[in-house]
Amino acid sequence: MSVVVEGARKEFRARRGARVMALDGVDLEAKPGELLVIVGPSGSGKSTLLRVIAGLEPLDAGRVLIDDRDVTGVPAGRRDVALVFQEAALFPHLGVAANIGIGERARGTRRRDVESRVREVARVLDIEPLLTRMPTELSGGERQRVALARAMIRSPRVCLLDEPLASVDTELRLRMRGEIRAVQRSLGVPMVHVTHDQVEAMAMGDRVAVMAQGRVLQCDIPAEVYARPATTAVARTFGPLPMNLLPAVDGVVTGVRPERVRVNRSGAGRAGTVAAVEPAGEECLVRVDDVLARVPMADAPHPGEQVVVTWRPEDEHHFDAETGARR
């Protein structure tokens, strides 16, 4: 079971006649049993891509294949796709059990059969006590679990998630990342997960696709995207901190990750003044002129101090100043 998107183009007409390229020639593949994370800033087209795969949005050009079958013209309801919406999209007038079972009811399954399926799924996700509640009585995490249950109940060919953890608090988010992975493994289907959270993308994805302005800039395993970003845009957006990009010299932009920058009181390197120091637990973020560095708290300089920043040559990344592409 796999999902393939080929040459997808989609243009939106915004108000006052302006046109926005939501998808500008996107090629993408989610392999069988794979969790593909699409990451990008808001407006990058990642949610549109998800809606295109689900069949909620028609394409201007290009194809969508699910299990090697062209489903481009197939309506959403016949694609056998499950979609977990941002903010869960639970039906406020229905109880939790009815919310989980509504897909089965929509497809005409008898009520008694639906009830037993609902209990089964609820047991797997450990939400049995919630079944008699109303959506308004649930916390953000509980709502997302119910939404996951609604997606799981049908054993879909593909599972799509649209920022499912955006409204869940930090502690629960860590736990639910694991739960989503577990659900995905038990279903054994490709899962496409859209998020703007870089950390979430790195932590969860078998592979990540970095999107910006309607294009996929890079698609690879997270470690590879982190170690060898394909463009300056990926370097700036992907990772726990944006990469430092130094002014171009002879048409080459040099980049270095803040995690690899060392701040010394003296010695060789770029001399500069400490502009700001931001404590972050064991470590702190230090800005020296235009270079950001992450250093242990014990080594933290003071604002205004004269320091020298250095890094190893092998930690440097080089990009074309013109195109932004990796050299």
């Binding site: 959403a76 406020p92 009811r105």
Partner: protein, 288 residues
């Protein structure tokens, strides 16, 4: 911020033009008053007269009949139009929405004159149309049930206010709820009956109650201008009777008794659907 200064004109105006008059009506209901001499307290005399007033209870029955037939028709039209016209923006939607509101733009009196012609047995296009189609003419202005049918027709189209409220309620449902049904393969019928209508139900209910009041009241204009309460009092509705008592016979005291009675009956009729809805909501909650 202190909010009451903003609400003051509205509350004062409502008090002067609604609450105080209601109180006054309640007081006048127990008097004989003809406008030129001070009201004379008569105790329960008006109530005794009311109880035996067959014409009034017939009129209440006709009002109730008209409301019972017309309100469901109007809601069907208003909610149906709102559902059809809730889709995307576009020129056709805009024209449709304007068209649905249009009959409500026509002044009631002009609307009544229009139907005075449409229903006319000799010159009216509707009897003529029925003749062409081979349908027997019910005698819209000449027989009791024909006149009531005519009244129903006059009352059915002007649903602008209800249409707009239903449209707002429909547009307030988040699109992703319908998308969720779409992805799950639910039919449009399933989406409408299990999602759209249940979510609109509370508003539709308020509309039903409000529309009942509007229909009972607004039937006044066509009954005055088109049927004049006839033939043989077949369309003599409660407001028309109150109007005649008060302004043609000048019995302001007894007319107040009738007004307050109508108000109380309306209140009871309004409470019924609200009670029903509360029961329904409780039932819905327990279902899978």
């Amino acid at each position: 911020m202190r909010r009451w200064p903003l609400a003051a004109p509205y509350l004062a105006g409502s008090a002067l033009l609604v609450l105080v008059p209601l109180g006054l009506a309640a007081a006048l209901a127990f008097t004989d008053y003809f406008g030129f001499r001070a009201p004379e307290f008569t105790g329960a005399d008006n109530l005794t007269r009311l109880a035996a007033d067959g014409t009034f209870w017939d009129a209440v029955g006709i009002s109730a009949f008209v409301a019972a037939v017309v309100v469901p028709l109007r809601l069907l039209l208003a909610v149906g139009a709102a559902l059809l016209l809730a889709r995307r923006r576009g020129a056709r939607t805009a024209v449709g929405r304007a068209a649905a509101y249009l009959p409500s733009v026509i002044p009631d009196a002009a609307w009544a004159l229009l139907w005075l012609w449409i229903l006319n047995p000799l010159y009216g296009p509707l009897p003529a149309l029925l003749g062409v189609l081979g349908v027997p003419d019910p005698g819209f202005l000449t027989t009791p049930w024909g006149a009531r049918l005519g009244l129903v027709l006059v009352m059915t189209f002007q649903v602008g206010e209800a249409f707009v409220v239903a449209l707002a309620a429909r547009l307030a449902i988040p699109a992703r709820l319908h998308e969720a049904i779409e992805v799950e393969g639910g039919s449009p019928w399933f989406a409408m009956t299990r999602v759209t209508l249940p979510l609109m139900a509370p508003i539709v209910l308020v509309l039903a109650v409000r529309d009942m009041v509007v229909v009972v009241q607004n039937a006044f204009v066509p009954t005055l201008l088109v049927t004049d309460g006839g033939p043989a009092n077949a369309t003599l509705t409660a407001p028309l009777l109150i109007y005649r008592r008060a302004f043609e016979y000048g019995e302001l005291g007894y007319a107040s008794t009738l007004s307050v009675t109508l108000l109380v009956l309306t209140g009871i009729a309004a409470a019924l659907p609200l009670w029903l809805a509360a029961r329904l909501a409780a039932h819905q909650r327990a279902r899978t």
